[in-house]
């Protein structure tokens, strides 16, 4: 009874469920529906790593208001989050914590590297305590350049991420 795949709709990987339960001809609409649901309810983790968090905060403010685009407020448990926005420089002390936070997030999850420091070390390229690019420890989906990026740039990055999610396999 329990092994009956039609009853296991909410257990296991979505891709496996699709393969076993859904007919081939309706897979594309289901993929579209699942991605559509995901891309407009992005919950970011509240992990501030450096000074880009100011512009992240300004983007949540009334003038820029990222919620219009489906990026919600950065409050809540990381177990419910699906986007890790690395807000700036990651130091040697922060790096293991950030990886730990990333590993605790449920699948599917995406990473945005915000700011020059998160991309490649930026202004701190020769500092003794700075990780030269977060893509050395977590896989990055979207890079947002700037030091710090303007809130408009952050919004563009989020829209790029949504485009990526829209095209992704389930």
């Amino acid at each position: 009874m329990v092994n009956d795949p039609t009853l296991n709709l909410l257990v296991g990987k979505v891709s496996d469920i699709l393969d076993t339960t859904i007919e081939k001809n309706v897979r594309e609409p289901v993929r579209f529906l699942v991605n559509w649901g995901r891309l407009y309810s992005l919950w970011p983790v509240h992990l501030e790593t450096a000074c880009c968090s100011i512009e992240f905060g300004a983007a949540s403010g009334p003038r820029h208001d990222v919620e219009r685009f489906g990026m919600l407020e950065a409050f809540g448990s990381l177990r419910q989050c699906d986007v890790l926005v690395v807000q700036g420089t990651v130091t040697r002390k922060m790096a293991p914590r950030m990886k730990w936070v990333y590993e605790q997030m449920p699948e599917p999850k995406w990473v945005i590297a915000m700011g020059a420091c998160a991309i490649s070390g930026g202004l701190y390229m020769d500092s003794y305590n700075v990780l030269q690019g977060v893509d050395k420890i977590v896989p990055v989906d979207v890079y947002i350049p700037g030091c710090p990026p303007r809130p408009e740039t952050l919004i563009q990055g989020i829209i790029e991420l949504q485009n990526k999610i829209r095209k992704s396999k389930v």
Partner: protein, 373 residues
């Protein structure tokens, strides 16, 4: 990777050790390890250093101009407040002096940045106390001051505007009208802030008589800035040791006697008004003239040392530069107000309730990036 230093300690008995941060809605880039006995905090051990980027060491292999961008990154909310003391110290070493107009524009930028920083603080404090409107209002009004600063400095937050010998470029011609219009709007807004937030019974219940700092303790712990003025000591570097041309303007130092979280809030709110008063006077005093003293070739200081104290948004910012005559400084020491606020926070948390921790923590306006440098 092991447990990344996050061991859960058991103290035995009724005591429990709690780690707040670095991933926590109310901690920022910082961790504090508190020991709680029931509802009360009996021990607080801060763990800063999550954003230590070695700014002081980096300053030793960059020259005097190259140092400005990375020295303002620790406090990008208060970018001019943190670079102005560096530039004033470097000017002493290089032996140049900025023209009068440049000094006035520096004062305008410093006061604009103080307002931008205080409004950011107010927004986050609203979130900490669960008052979402108080996040949205200051964040929206802050954008107006960012627009003003952007019209002078060119970017939203990181201006790198103040350079040794003057400022980078002149003010736009219509700045005075725009600024006075914004101040006129914001003075009316402050009254609304008082109605919805500062005279709100929920807000006063959560902050009044919470985290009381005595004047003796404040002096002993080295607290500066608004937190010191909230205990009744009218210390302000702008009055005590005037730099730029602060001796030509007339302003008050807002103080409170209570020393609790609410007093610290009210002092910052009144400082917004004082900053606008200073800028209004400066806009009347400012006259056309050169904005920069051009320095030929690479800036090189005489062997020696210099230090300058200024009043940044969070308190007294102190720079000490040692030069050996090369184009790079030999040593740059930054003494930041946030680090002293951290010591004050540890002192205040012990003995208070765990539920009061957010109200105490952010009322001190502790900015971890600045403390870690």
């Amino acid at each position: 990777m092991k447990n990344a230093g996050m061991n859960i300690e058991d103290k035995g008995g009724d005591q429990l050790v709690l780690h707040v941060g670095p991933q926590h809605p109310g901690s920022g880039h910082f961790r504090i390890i508190v020991t709680v006995d029931g509802d009360y905090i009996v021990g607080a051990k801060p763990d800063p250093g999550y954003v230590h980027r070695g700014a002081e060491k980096m300053a030793e292999y960059r020259d005097y101009i190259q140092n400005i961008p990375h020295l303002e990154r620790p406090v990008i909310i208060d970018a001019t407040g943190v670079t102005l003391p560096y530039v004033l110290t470097a000017e002493k070493i290089i032996d140049v002096e900025a023209p009068e107009r440049a000094q006035y524009i520096r004062m305008i930028m410093a006061e604009l940045n103080r307002i931008i920083s205080h409004l950011y603080w107010l927004g986050i404090y609203g979130i900490f106390l669960g008052h979402s409107t108080m996040f949205m209002w200051p964040m929206g009004d802050r954008e107006l001051f960012i627009d003003l600063a952007e019209s002078i400095g060119g970017t939203r937050v990181t201006f790198s505007y103040v350079v040794p010998g003057g400022v980078r470029n002149d003010m736009p011609t219509n700045f005075k009208e725009r600024a006075l219009k914004t101040f006129d709007y914001f003075e009316r807004r402050i009254e609304e802030y008082k109605k919805i937030f500062f005279n709100n019974p929920i807000m006063t219940a959560r902050t009044e008589s919470v985290g009381i700092l005595s004047p003796a303790d404040a002096i002993k712990l080295g607290i500066t800035g608004s937190n010191l003025r909230a205990v009744g000591i009218d210390s302000d570097t702008r009055k005590d040791e005037p730099y730029c041309l602060y001796d030509r303007v007339d302003f008050e130092i807002p103080t409170r006697k209570e020393g609790d979280s609410y007093a610290r809030c009210i002092v910052r709110l009144e400082e917004l008004q004082q900053s606008m008063n200073i800028m209004k006077q400066v806009l009347d005093l400012i006259e056309p003239g050169p904005i920069k003293q051009v320095i030929g070739g690479v800036m090189r200081g005489e062997p020696g040392e210099a230090f300058v104290r200024t009043e940044a948004a969070r308190g007294t910012m102190f720079y000490h530069i040692v030069s050996d005559g090369e184009k790079n400084p030999y040593r740059v020491k930054i003494s930041v107000p946030s680090f002293r606020n951290l010591i004050g926070m540890t002192h205040l948390l012990v003995g208070s309730k765990l539920a009061d921790m957010p109200a105490i923590y952010w009322s001190l306006d502790y900015w971890p990036v600045e403390a870690d440098r």
